[in-house]
């Protein structure tokens, strides 16, 4: 029988509270340690218990960016999982289930005869080895590995590394329970499973989500204070930094609301430290006024906005790219800001680290725009390169510039628009950071002449900052292509996955990823669009917001647009189909 090596998709489904995510994470780690690449994605409703939860882990020998619609293995913890997902199984695929809890009959499978059932007494085995009910997932993991004919040693190591802080007993319990599932399936009579894992080179890679990448980017970038109010899908940045506060000796503050969070952050920057806050659209709405405060007082500021489908509470645990225009134009009045939309964990890490340099050096607000898909999905990722961005201080007044002064001209006009700033406590640097329009010292000044100077000065900073930015567009794929996918943020991932599939079909495609939304890379985008044979705008929203920005700034329109707004990320299959039928 033909076996597919190192390429399969695994899915687990159950109720909220069944703890399925942990199991998927283990499998993803396993594959990654085996020298393969994984991606995982989960869907869960905005409920604590009940509701249908799913996690998918896809594994490949090549780097992968999104998962497929089809699955080869399904761990079904409840009936709903079978009903909803059996149809997605590839021919020859398996369903692992606990026959004591879930009896699967033909009706539940539709008319799929080509699916194999693998009943494993998950709970019984867990209990037998001294575990609890919930550890049935670990049994399922063992069963999965047995089917894949994957060596147990690697998973034993993972249990060791993960649980050793809790003691050797915990490590061994997990190892034992996993092995029970493994052995049970090995001992089953049955055909050989058409998919298997063969470990490869042991390049060390991480399995990481966008939020952790941002947290680590911040830490690398010299962050000292993070203030936030929890909001899905941004919450885990706060939780990760709260965990890491101790080892990194920084402060993670859970503020009373988002208005406090953004103002805490502004206060911290004003006093001289690198700080950030993070939220999703609803919380960002509450930070809007603070954004303008940072702008007019020329206080650096970094905000993460992890999007979810709106309006209002919307679909709290789903994904969308609906806030682009909102973020670009938020807050009364006119002022420059930087908006960066990373498209994978590596970009998230790098740009988070860079945002702190940018904000500090140019006295500008920087907004990092992600979404639920990037924030909470996990990808096998080469270890972050700390040298990609070097944290460097900037934008401060040197001692001789302020010492001994009565007042410091912190808003004096300069060619770059950036005026070096002292921080409170420094001798002679006295000035007023003012939300009212102000003169060079910060005193309220309502004159026409001063207003023009200050508006121009502030706006000039954005121009100055461009020099410090990396290329604002990222090109993926060959320069010479029949079709260019135009996208931003996390949808870059599905486009990257599509390139591979399209190439296999003989369609030469490439990608124009707009990494920096503001300052908008008008010239790059215009050139790319003019060169392209045909272009497809790919956005996870209903109005094609990036498309509108392109139209506004370049006058150009993509040949086609492929938009999705049901709260789900794109399937690579649908993007490939669309591209093929529009090329």
């Amino acid at each position: 029988m033909k076996q597919t090596v190192n390429r399969f998709t695994w899915k687990i489904g159950g109720a909220a509270g069944d703890g399925i995510m942990v199991t998927g994470a283990m499998l993803a780690k396993y594959a990654t340690r085996a020298g393969l690449w994984s991606v995982d994605y989960s869907e869960y409703p905005s409920l604590i218990r009940g509701g249908h939860n799913v996690q998918v882990v896809q594994v490949d020998e090549e780097q992968i960016f999104t998962h497929d619609q089809g699955n080869e293995m399904l761990v079904a913890l409840n009936e709903e999982t079978v009903r909803l997902h059996a149809a997605e199984l590839t021919s020859g695929g398996v369903i692992i289930h606990d026959p004591d809890r879930l009896v699967i009959n033909a009706a539940m499978l539709g008319d799929r005869q080509d699916i194999r059932l693998v009943p494993v007494p998950l709970v019984k085995l867990s209990l037998r080895e001294g575990g609890k009910d919930l550890m049935r997932n670990t049994v399922a993991l063992g069963a999965t590995l047995a089917l894949l004919d994957a060596p147990l040693q690697l998973v034993d190591d993972i249990f060791h590394d993960t649980f050793i802080e809790k003691g050797q007993a915990v490590v061994e319990l997990n190892q034992r329970i996993c092995r029970a599932g493994y052995d049970y399936v090995r001992d089953l009579q049955g055909e050989t499973f058409p998919w298997r894992i063969v470990p490869k080179s042991n390049v060390v890679r991480s399995v990481i989500d966008g939020n952790s990448a941002i947290a680590l980017g911040f830490l690398h970038g010299g962050l000292k204070l993070y203030s936030a109010y929890p909001m899905t899908p941004a919450s885990s940045i706060l939780m990760t930094l709260a965990e890491l506060a101790k080892p990194f000796n920084i402060v993670a503050k859970h503020a009373e609301d988002e208005i406090a969070a953004v103002n805490n952050t502004i206060g911290a920057w004003h006093a001289g430290v690198r700080a950030a806050c993070g939220t999703s659209g609803g919380g960002f709405s509450l930070m809007v006024e603070g954004l303008g405060l940072a702008a007019i007082s020329e206080t650096p500021l970094v905000i993460v906005n992890a999007m979810r489908p709106g309006p209002a509470t919307g679909l709290p645990t789903w994904t969308e790219q609906g806030d682009l225009r909102f973020i670009m134009h938020a807050s009364q009045g006119e002022f420059p800001r930087i908006v960066v939309a990373p498209g994978d964990p590596t970009q998230a890490f790098t740009e988070a680290a860079r945002s702190l340099n940018l904000a500090e050096h140019y006295h500008l607000p920087v907004i990092i725009l992600t979404d639920k898909y990037l924030a909470e999905g996990h990808w096998s990722t080469p270890l972050f390169d700390a040298r990609a961005v070097v944290p460097e201080r900037g934008g401060f007044a040197a001692p001789h510039e302020h010492q001994g002064k009565e007042w410091y001209g912190r808003y004096a006009d300069t060619p770059s628009g950036v005026t070096p700033r002292p921080v409170p406590g420094q001798d002679g640097g006295v000035f007023i950071a003012n939300s009212d329009e102000h003169d060079q010292y910060g005193f309220a000044d309502e004159s026409s002449a001063n207003r023009i100077v200050q508006v121009d000065k502030r706006n000039r900073k954005l121009q100055s900052a461009i020099a410090a930015l990396p290329p604002r567009v990222v090109r993926w794929g060959d320069a010479d292509a029949d079709v260019t996918l135009v996208t931003w943020g996390s949808t870059t991932l599905v486009c990257r996955e599509a390139l591979k599939k399209l190439a296999a079909m003989g369609i030469r495609a490439n990608i124009l990823q707009i990494l920096y939304i503001l300052p908008f890379p008008e010239a790059d985008v215009r050139a790319a669009l003019q060169e392209a044979k045909r272009t497809i705008l790919v956005e996870n929203n209903v109005t094609g917001q990036l498309g509108s920005v392109i139209a506004e700034t370049t006058g150009l329109h993509c040949t086609h647009q492929f938009l999705k707004y049901d709260g789900r990320p794109f399937w690579v299959e649908e993007l490939v189909d669309f591209t093929r039928s529009h090329t």
Binding site: N263, G267, A268, A271, F431
Partner: protein, 290 residues
């Protein structure tokens, strides 16, 4: 930093003379704040004053000291962020009753229980001055204002009672007409280790023709001249409810408990602002993701 030479009130003048209405209670608070800074010997560059938006907040242009004139209602979170960033800095917040108890009420109650060491002075003129005489949270029930021409329908907020109930560790009331006592209260507030709330009764001569200087002169009394025990929360609460015939001024409640920054393990040692940003190694943490 060299030892500060003897300071005086005028050292904190910005050179811009206040634009407040002649006779405004803000002058008394302005004097009290500068006196307190002078008497404590805190140099203009050693303190950050964060201001709200209002007539009160316009003081940002009249005081010489590092200043931050933020958003209406949002002075406290800026101040708290700054204090956590540099715990060696003295941080004082000045704002109006609309600013602090209306727009910013949520920050107020959480600052009280959070106990970050910041001094909060509220110019309580029981009206919105800068926007021309609308109702404030502290406007007395029944008083007509430009937004409530038939009289305020809400019961007035009692700032000191609220502060005590919300977990304030230092709650005092001053009067703009008694700069001596006010100076002392502000000094005590600044030296108090924790969040200190000072509600200052501040006549607005233009928009509040009810709670005038003379109205207050007839009513205020100093709690320090009574047997008031400011360490007793019950007693402080009872005192704080007094309004009308007798209005207490002075320190109403005090409790010494750890500050937020004092309890935060990560803030032990040098202030955040002095810590290097370079060479943070994420390697060990990244290892956990492999």
């Amino acid at each position: 930093m060299p030892a500060s030479p003897q300071k005086k009130n005028a050292d904190y003048n910005s050179g811009h003379f206040p634009t407040w209405c002649p006779g405004c209670g803000n002058f008394g608070i302005w004097t009290g704040v500068k006196n307190a800074l002078a008497e404590l010997g805190i140099a203009p560059s050693q303190v950050l004053v964060v201001y709200g938006i209002g007539c009160s907040g316009n003081m940002s242009s009249f005081v010489k000291a590092y200043g931050f004139h933020g958003l209406h209602g949002r002075a406290l979170p800026v101040a708290i962020g700054a204090k956590l960033a540099n715990k060696d800095l003295k941080v004082i917040v000045l704002g109006g009753d609309g600013d602090g108890y209306g727009e910013g009420g949520n920050h107020f109650i959480h600052a009280l229980r959070g106990n970050v060491d910041v001094t909060y002075i509220v110019h309580d003129n029981q009206v919105y001055g800068l926007t021309k005489g609308q109702m404030a949270p502290t406007t007395e029930h029944g008083q007509p204002t430009s937004s409530t021409p038939e009289g305020a329908l809400e019961q007035a907020l009692n700032p000191v009672a609220l502060a005590i109930a919300a977990g304030g560790s230092f709650v005092a009331q001053g009067f703009a007409g008694d700069v001596g006592q006010l100076t002392q209260i502000i000094k005590d507030a600044i030296t108090h280790p924790g969040f200190a709330h000072v509600n200052v009764l501040q006549p607005c001569v233009t928009f509040n023709h009810h709670n005038t200087f003379s109205w207050f002169y007839k009513r205020v009394y100093k709690v320090e001249t009574t047997k008031h025990d400011f360490s007793n929360k019950q007693e402080a609460f009872a005192r704080s409810l007094e309004w009308g015939e007798k209005i207490p001024t002075g320190l109403l409640y005090r409790e010494i408990r750890p500050t937020w920054e004092g309890s935060c393990a990560e803030l032990a040692g040098i202030p955040l602002v002095k810590r290097p940003i370079e060479n943070t190694s994420i390697a060990a943490t990244l290892q956990k993701y492999t």
